[in-house]
Symmetry: C2
Subunit: 409 residues, 2 copies
């Protein structure tokens, strides 16, 4: 009955990352694949206690339907947490979503007609690309530099798209410890991006899943905190700052834009689970999100350090291999010599009992074949060392095989 | 920045039902509005215990990301529960969704291009209409009779739509205790509906939120259980059978259709909360869903009986008022004399401290102005009596005012 399919799924593929998650179930594979948060960061004792209490005592509330906009208690707690970060918001500016992936879905529903343009990084978050694909977005990629998106190139791409008569809607960015590259956008570029958006009348979709997981360097203001027009819609997931299993995020949007998002959310799932919302709200009110973040940042820092050290230890020198050294978040981004296809190489890697995400899936222009994303979040420092050792063997063998094939060795 | 809106939300309105939910927060109003399950049916003691246990002991699993398809434990538990109901399914035929509203969203994503036709009841579930609107479905309404959709009319509408060159995709039905009418489709019509779908090569979206809440009459097989082609996609929410706050449902679909739905779900929310899935799964494994249903059915029966008794007691006779007497579910459907506009009347009702859902919002053809949906689920039998007494006063006054205006009194 395939003839019944919509145009949008007829072309869609299953997510490489989601399929990879299945591989990680094999216990002998060391997976740097999925961007899963470290379970040891989940405040499970506190959450177990809160869950039992609110289900027992507040069941008529927390096990019932809730407002589409989300729990007022949770939204107020987030407003209070955002204020010292320079983001002024009332509960009416916050929409609770069934995690940030749903926020991306709602942004498309509210603002995208087929063929509308969204600019995004090369590379960018695969899940966003998939959400955009489902709504037939015209995705225009812009190269990332070490301090974030190349804004000169962005301006060129905007001019080209305007000349081509396209409808430009938004710029999608992950300014802090970007997925998949780990790159952070400089303050100067944040300001200039906002200026460009203002001049060209574009929305900015600011995805901020990792910004609060900074373990080195100076905190950077969100683009949202510099916006006085309501042009920036910021997504803040709890998946990495609290735990992924709640499927919980908030999106910041103002006035009419918020109204459109609420009208998109009603038919999408009526409301997000009140149980998970109240679990998060009570955790934040009782224990404080900042306190929790201070406890978990060192866990990620140690893993990131272990990965950087192992890369320096095992990867061949002078072979044209480079990687990012992120100041936060979950990901290291590695570039192998041009000509290496990391999707092909994954098969060898899995035989060597190590896994990663091939970078190509994060490029909307068909590039990135020689890149890979390494997530250090789920693996212990010792296992990171062993996994990178295995990966280095695979990389060396692949480079050598290529040199032999090319007759240069 | 309204010019940034997509076509689909530019036309969308906020849901009347969701806005009504806000009214129910006023404690002096007796609301027959929202179709919320009765909190006294939530197995909260058991759930509190399970929640604490699984968060404490299985946090690395239940607070983490999960498979897009859903928890295998939960899907297996549902397969085992469905089997005695005549529905043969393996876990590969079940997709866990973030409640049935998301299932409707995914059905549209997987099978609908703008302008495609879905046939639905007059009246039908407002939330489905809203999901269909977001995907620019051409909704064609078919009158309900006392034993379900008028299938002669359905065949006429199909012929007309084919003549008009439209792309026909599906028939959306709620065969048991339909929302909003409370009407149940006869076995004969179920069989004939399936034949029509087969002949015309249409999918059937069978929404079954209340089928297991039958408290009178004989159980009826689902249309899905009679389907040997994989043409029927059945949605089973836990919102009424367990509790709404989990935001949990399963959808039954086969083969390629399932594959398309999974590919639609990945970009939509990656996965449904593992915490809520394991809460439901452990509840079902430990206590049994059938046992629980047996306990909660009498609660709804008592309320339904109270509402029918109160309607008989208070509503004026010989005034052209009628109502359905459902054998299960949450809703009574009332028809007032033609010419009464129940949306206008709602203002008076609220002044008399009683609320309901005006029927017009459930009609995709612009009709139904003289109908209302009464939900008995959230109100105690005593309060139902008082609420219907208040409503009867409003109805009488409205009919009299109309007669005076028309000079017939």
């Amino acid at each position: 009955m395939k003839h019944h399919f919509s145009r949008r799924v007829a072309g869609a593929k299953r997510s490489a990352i989601r399929e990879l998650l299945k591989l990680t179930e094999q216990p002998d594979i060391i997976s740097f694949g999925g961007g899963l948060p470290a379970p040891e960061t989940f405040p499970h004792e506190e959450m177990a206690e809160i869950a039992a209490e609110i289900i027992r005592e507040k069941y008529a509330n927390v096990l019932q339907y809730g407002l589409t906009e989300g729990s007022k208690t949770l939204r107020q707690a987030i407003c209070d947490w955002l204020k010292p970060q320079g983001v002024e918001a009332t509960i009416h500016d916050l929409l609770v979503t069934t995690a940030s992936q749903q926020a991306l879905d709602l942004l498309c529903k509210a603002f995208i007609d087929p063929g509308d343009v969204i600019f995004c990084g090369l590379p960018t978050y695969l899940g966003a690309v998939q959400a955009f694909n489902l709504f037939e977005v015209d995705k225009i990629g812009v190269q990332l530099e070490n301090d974030g998106m190349d804004l000169d190139e962005l301006e060129e791409r905007i001019a080209e798209a305007k000349d081509a008569g396209k409808t430009l809607k938004a710029i999608y960015v992950i300014p802090d410890f970007q997925n998949p590259s780990g790159i952070t956008m400089s303050l100067e570029k944040r300001k200039r991006l906002l200026e460009i958006a203002r001049r060209e009348d574009l929305l900015i979709f600011e995805d901020n899943p990792y910004g609060h997981l900074r373990f080195a360097g100076e905190p950077m203001p969100s683009i949202c905190s510099m916006d006085d027009e309501g042009r920036v819609l910021m997504m803040l997931t709890f998946s990495k700052t609290l735990c992924a299993g709640l499927r919980l995020a908030v999106m910041l949007a103002r006035g009419d834009l918020m109204d459109a998002l609420v009208r998109a959310k009603q038919p999408t799932d009526l409301c997000t689970s009140k149980l998970t919302q109240h679990l998060a709200a009570q955790y934040i009110l009782r224990y404080g999100l900042e306190n929790h973040l201070e406890e978990i940042r060192p866990i990620y820092k140690e893993k990131r350090n272990a990965m950087i050290a192992a890369l320096e230890r095992y990867m061949p020198e002078d072979a044209g291999i480079s990687w990012t050294e992120p100041e936060g978040g979950l990901f290291v981004w590695m570039r192998l010599p041009e000509g290496i296809d990391t999707t092909d190489m994954l098969q060898d890697a899995i035989e060597h009992k190590v896994a990663y995400v091939p970078g190509a899936s994060a490029y909307v222009d068909g590039g990135g074949q020689h890149t890979i994303r390494l997530s250090y979040s789920l693996v212990s420092p010792e296992t990171i060392d062993e996994g990178i050792r295995r990966l280095a063997e695979v990389v060396k063998a692949t480079i050598e095989a290529k040199q032999v094939a090319a007759g240069t060795r």
